[in-house]
């Protein structure tokens, strides 16, 4: 088993740092958070393929820690095994779909306060965090809650369960994310507003580009400057 220990930790951290782009305290917290979450589910770190198929990870922050959790667990947004909950909380939940067991691992604020006590010779706060987060026990770094996570079939990996069409804009909405209002179907932007405003459809230059040309006898360069039809 790839349990806690310096060697697997350093290996996972190195991989995570390469994927994320830099080493920072959040990376260490994330790697350890994921290792703990997986251990609580009795999964390996990283999970084996069969374990990965049973795993859903909820990340509650979009910070360095989130990338590390995603790296170690191999959870992916596009595979629907990674869910982003925009709570701004340094926490992640690890759910075993088969057993229903789920553990929410919360990074403690105390661990930040204690970082310099664990390495008293280090005066730089960031450096102290980098060193102390390697040696602090999980009990200081994290609190863990056993939680129940209710998922609908619309949240699960696998093929699209349902498609609906927005009555207002015509957009197709997948997996039950449509909004029913007065018996009519809408997409969320039309029903509730969106993160964007003032949407206006545009045309753009080189609109017919594609990675592989599909029109026989014509290459992309030859079509440059042709009048639009």
């Amino acid at each position: 088993m790839n349990r806690d220990g310096a060697a697997p930790f350093e290996e996972l951290l190195a991989g995570s740092v390469a994927a994320h782009g830099h080493l920072c305290p959040g990376q260490i917290v994330g790697v350890r958070m994921a290792m703990l979450g997986l251990r609580l589910l009795d999964f390996e770190a990283p999970p084996t393929y069969p374990q990965l198929k049973q795993l859903i990870v909820f990340i509650e922050m979009d910070r360095c820690t989130g990338d590390a959790v995603a790296f170690v667990t191999n959870a992916k947004l596009g595979r629907r095994s990674l869910k982003f909950m925009d709570y701004g909380i340094m926490a992640a939940t690890f759910l075993n779909l088969e057993s229903g067991k789920a553990f929410r691992v919360i990074s403690t604020e105390e661990s930040r306060d204690l970082a310099q006590m664990y390495v008293p010779q280090e005066t730089d706060k960031r450096q102290a965090q980098l060193e102390s987060y390697r040696i602090m026990p999980d009990s200081v770094m994290f609190r863990v809650q056993r939680v129940k996570v209710d998922l609908t079939p619309f949240d699960l990996p696998g093929p699209t369960r349902r498609k609906a069409t927005c009555r207002k804009c015509g957009q197709v909405v997948r997996d039950g994310r449509e909004v029913i209002r007065d018996g009519q179907t809408y997409c969320r932007p039309c029903a509730r507003g969106a993160y964007f405003t003032e949407a206006q459809e545009i045309a753009w230059e080189e609109m017919n580009w594609s990675p592989f040309l599909t029109i026989p006898g014509k290459d992309f360069a030859a079509r440059q400057g042709e009048p639009a039809t």
């Binding site: 306060d113 204690l114 006590m117 664990y118 008293p120 009990s139």
Partner: protein
């Protein structure tokens, strides 16, 4: 879960916690202990103690009473050489030295423990010399009932590094003393170091196994060091020659004797020119002249720790700086004073 009942309706119920009585200047303690069955005669006294309601406890599966919590906490906090009795009073359990020795407190574990909501532990300072049976710490869970998981996490934190409080026995060292300096060696002045240092060594339970005098000559001092080692000394103390005068060759001699590690200078006043070196595993302490004029110097802070098996290096000497300034009181109250307690 805690329910509240009116005092007059509480007859026949069992007390969920101790009820404390305070008579200023006379008494503070439990007037009624947890588990006591309330009877009619108790009501008046409880009213006098300001009680109009009592708690009745109905514990949920994931809840724990303060007394059980305190026992779990005490068990986790107590490292080697620490004892406690599972007889909580008002939710509190005291921790005692189980042997004579040096109290060591893992301050980062203690801080991490106390940062958990609803638990607390207070201790004497780390590196305090203690006697068997001496009170060295106390712990309690603050609410009457609390979630078991919180107590278990606090206990896990306390158990890192094998407990927060440890009493390490002092080893019985065979100490070798070398008094350096031309003025003493040639009999120009009488040595006062040997009695002072012998007394300190013996008061910590070690023995003075060898004593030598040497002039300010590196080669002679080196020979004295090696001779002491050959005689089986497992702790060496050198006095004199620690300052920056050209005649002060003690450090050079220690180096020549094959010291693997030499740390000169400690963040303590008096005792800045203190030296710690190691000849293999044998610690060698260089004691500056201030030890003749001040009752307590770096030596008194470091020697018990060395005898308790701690390896004193550059970091340990540096950390003495906080609290390392003696107030030079007319009447020295050490160890009941802040000197050396900040490390």
């Amino acid at each position: 879960m805690i329910k509240t009942v009116k005092l007059e309706e509480a007859v026949g119920t069992k007390l969920a916690h101790d009820i404390t009585e305070i008579r200023p200047g006379e008494f503070k303690g439990p007037a009624f202990r947890k588990g006591h069955t309330v009877c009619q005669e108790d009501i008046c006294r409880m009213q006098r103690l300001g009680k109009n309601h009592l708690y009745v406890i109905d514990l949920e599966a994931d809840e724990i009473h303060e007394n059980e919590a305190a026992a779990i906490l005490a068990d986790a906090l107590a490292g080697e050489g620490v004892v406690w009795e599972n007889n909580p009073r008002e939710g509190k359990i005291n921790l005692y030295a189980g042997r004579d020795g040096l109290l060591q407190v893992s301050t980062q574990s203690l801080a991490a423990f106390n940062l958990v909501d609803e638990v607390m532990c207070a201790t004497l300072h780390s590196h305090t010399l203690v006697k068997t049976g001496e009170l060295i710490g106390a712990t309690r869970a603050i609410p009457l009932i609390m979630k078991r998981a919180i107590i278990e996490r606090a206990a896990a934190i306390a158990r890192q590094n094998r407990g927060v409080l440890t009493v390490r026995p002092l080893r019985r060292a065979r100490a070798g003393l070398i008094i350096t300096g031309n003025e003493v060696y040639h009999g120009l002045i009488q040595d006062r170091f040997a009695p002072v240092l012998s007394s300190k060594i013996q008061s910590l339970g070690s023995e003075m196994a060898a004593l030598a005098f040497a002039p300010d000559d590196a080669e002679t001092i080196t020979r004295a060091i090696l001779s002491h080692l050959e005689q089986g000394c497992d702790l060496l103390l050198l006095s004199g020659g620690m300052s920056v005068d050209p005649d002060d060759v003690t450090r050079h001699a220690i180096h020549r004797a094959g010291a693997t590690e030499i740390h000169y200078g400690s963040a303590v006043l008096p005792g800045a020119m203190f030296l710690v070196a190691y000849l293999g595993e044998v610690p060698l302490l260089g004691v500056p002249a201030c030890a003749l004029h001040h009752p307590v110097t770096t030596l008194d802070l470091v020697l018990p720790r060395i005898l308790a098996g701690e390896r004193i290096g550059k970091l340990e000497l540096a950390l003495l700086g906080h609290g390392g300034l003696c107030r030079d009181c007319q009447e020295c109250a050490y160890p009941a004073c802040p000197f050396g307690k900040g490390a």
